[in-house]
Amino acid sequence: MPPRLSLASQRLVVVTGKGGVGKTTVAAALAHAAASAGRRVLAVEVGRGRLGPLLGVERLGGDPTRIDRGLAAATIEPETVLGDFLLSVLRFRLLTRRLLESTSFQVLAAAAPGLPELLVLHRLLGWIEARRLGRPVHDLVIVDAPASGHSLPLLTAPGALRALARLGPVSDLLGRLERLLADPEQTLVCPVTTPEELAVRETIELYTEIASHALPVAPPIVNALPPRRFAIDDAAMLARLESACGAHPYLVAARLQIERRSQAETQLRALKRALGVTPVRLPFVFAEPETPDALAELSAELANATGFAA
């Protein structure tokens, strides 16, 4: 069976999804899977979140920190990137600081459509294009994108800005970014969801959005799928036990798991029907999900799905 979420030549993977679906965990597990398969991986988060602690680093910096063989991580804080940009224009630290501290300038800069996103992409592009001794420093850059609803500001910014800036160095940069993001050989967008009604609905809307921008997209990763613990023919026996024993903890546990699984399957079907692809599934982790063991379990699942395990 060919891998569902094929990662071959890609240089940039953008893990996206709504808040609380386990996006960061998936990004971390994917980074481990790729690094174990011999890729030199840079895992990146935008803003300050839990990617660092998940990968075993208290606090990520703006420059890549080496974590393990083949694995490095960094954070991009849009404010800092703006500072860098300003510094490169103004060349005076004091002036840059004054400007950054001014409310009005913040209003101006943050209101400029797509500018923060563009600055983030610019930093990513720098890492993707970095070379040492004739080969890329990072084979694969995995981004834990900011939580999205049904829109993708980070990925659609260049296209939106393109219409505005037609000439000059900015236009060249936009062109490079657009080509990178649209090229299935180089980029893959990985939406993550949980098998829950609201999350699935937003994921379906997200695919519509992705399609309208012609971005290369993977099948959805359905995270935290409750396991199937019982067979269909257990039902009759369970019902008998329930009528004899009432709310025995074992039976409560069984009923809860059966119901949660059945709800999840309904949502999986809805997702599959709407998108016409089979999702990648990651199991619900009952024990602490942010431990090395749990991460290793998810990482192994993703290694199978991506073909890294082969």
Partner: protein, 382 residues
């Protein structure tokens, strides 16, 4: 009969603000609280941000026209109870204000088409969030309701949402206006040719990126807003007073998941920064501790279970013991992060609540019968 703090709040408060991270059941909790308040005889309105489709239908909010819906509660044993549901559409409200306040149609159109306005009104300045909060205020003052239950956007945006009045006031601050009129005034050598030159080059850079005449569009936008300043400023003060006043209870809705500890810390700090203190915590998705907690004994297999089914039952039970242990370990830091007591626990339900009777069930967990007789989790057999 000693009522719970949550029951007291339902009785005495005018506004209950449900805050918390995404995906923890905030909207459901808000709706269940509102159903219960209405059932207890208070004229209630629930204002929700983004309900799941089934819940939206249950509340009669299937159409997005911004009009309130009377929720029929006869089916859940509360005939005559008054509950209205509103959808808080953050973007729309500000557009409506511009339309109402602009002196001519043309002026309104210019602002609504202003790209800067489009960005500002949905993101940075928080003006749109302000309008949603302002709607809460109007309903509290003039809606004729005893209680408003307000659902807010997910954690990170909740502070923006609630802080919108202050931020708008800041934006209207005269110094900011001065700067927008002469941006070089922020530079050390204000007024000098060097300052003008430097600023002009930065702005040119920004304008090249964005292709819009930032300065012109800002002035245009500010011009319109400025004409509304005095009225807005008064209103902003009153809205702040309502949110921070004794009649409002910020209620943290959360779940015992590790990721939420950090998010809760950030949220509570943000809320404190705008003068709001969480009054209580509702914990959703908690496994019943009486059945699976660390102090509950393993009752062993139920009589009559054998073979493969016995193995599966044991596995299913062990799973939940593990989950319960993880939840217990998370709860203490979560409560510490929130700095408020747990006022109710709603267990992990087989399916996400989506109907009015589901909401009534959630309400039974939020307000357990003090006698314990009808507490949904108290039946234990074998």
């Amino acid at each position: 009969m000693s009522a719970s703090p949550l029951a007291d709040a339902l009785e005495a408060k005018r506004v209950i603000l449900c805050v918390g991270s995404g995906g923890v059941g905030k909207t459901t909790t808000a709706a269940a609280l509102a159903v219960e308040a209405a059932r207890r005889g208070r004229r209630t309105a629930v204002l929700t941000v983004d309900p799941a489709p089934r819940l939206k239908d249950a509340l009669g909010l299937g159409t997005l026209d911004g009009k309130p819906r009377r929720v029929p509660l006869g089916g859940v044993g509360a005939r005559g109870a008054h509950l209205d549901a509103f959808l808080l559409d953050v973007k729309r409200t500000f557009d409506e204000l511009v339309l109402a306040l602009a002196s001519t149609q043309d002026q309104a159109r210019r602002v609504l088409e202003n790209r800067l306005y489009q960005n500002l009104s949905s993101t940075l300045a928080g003006t749109a969030e302000y309008m949603a909060v302002e709607r809460v205020y109007r309903l509290a003052e003039e809606g004729g309701y005893d209680l408003l239950v307000v659902d807010t956007p997910p954690a990170r945006h909740a502070v923006d949402f609630l802080d919108a009045p202050r931020r708008l006031a800041n934006l209207l601050d005269s110094r900011a206006f001065a700067i927008l009129k002469d941006p070089t005034s922020i530079l050390p050598a204000a007024g000098s040719r060097v300052a003008h030159f430097l600023l002009a080059s930065v702005l040119r850079g920004l304008e090249r990126f964005t292709g819009i005449g930032l300065v012109r569009e800002v002035s245009e936008f500010m011009g319109v807003i400025e004409s509304l300043t005095a009225a807005l400023r008064t209103r902003v003060g009153a809205v702040g007073d309502l949110l921070r006043g004794p009649g409002t209870m910020p209620l943290l809705v959360t779940a015992p998941e590790p990721r939420l500890v950090y998010e809760t810390e950030v949220l509570v700090k943000g809320l404190a920064g705008i003068g709001l203190t969480v009054g209580g915590i509702v914990v959703n998705r908690a496994l019943p501790r009486a059945l699976f907690g660390s102090t509950a004994g393993d009752p062993g297999l139920p009589d009559g279970a054998s073979g493969a089914l016995a193995t599966r039952l044991r596995r299913a039970y062990t799973d939940l013991r593990l989950l319960a242990a993880r939840q217990e370990a998370t709860l203490a830091p979560l409560v510490a992060a929130a700095g408020a007591p747990v006022v109710a626990e709603v267990p992990l339900l087989p399916m996400d609540p989506g109907s009015l009777s589901d909401l009534a069930l959630v309400a039974r967990y939020l307000f357990p019968d003090p006698t314990g007789e009808t507490s949904p989790a108290s039946e234990l057999g074998c």
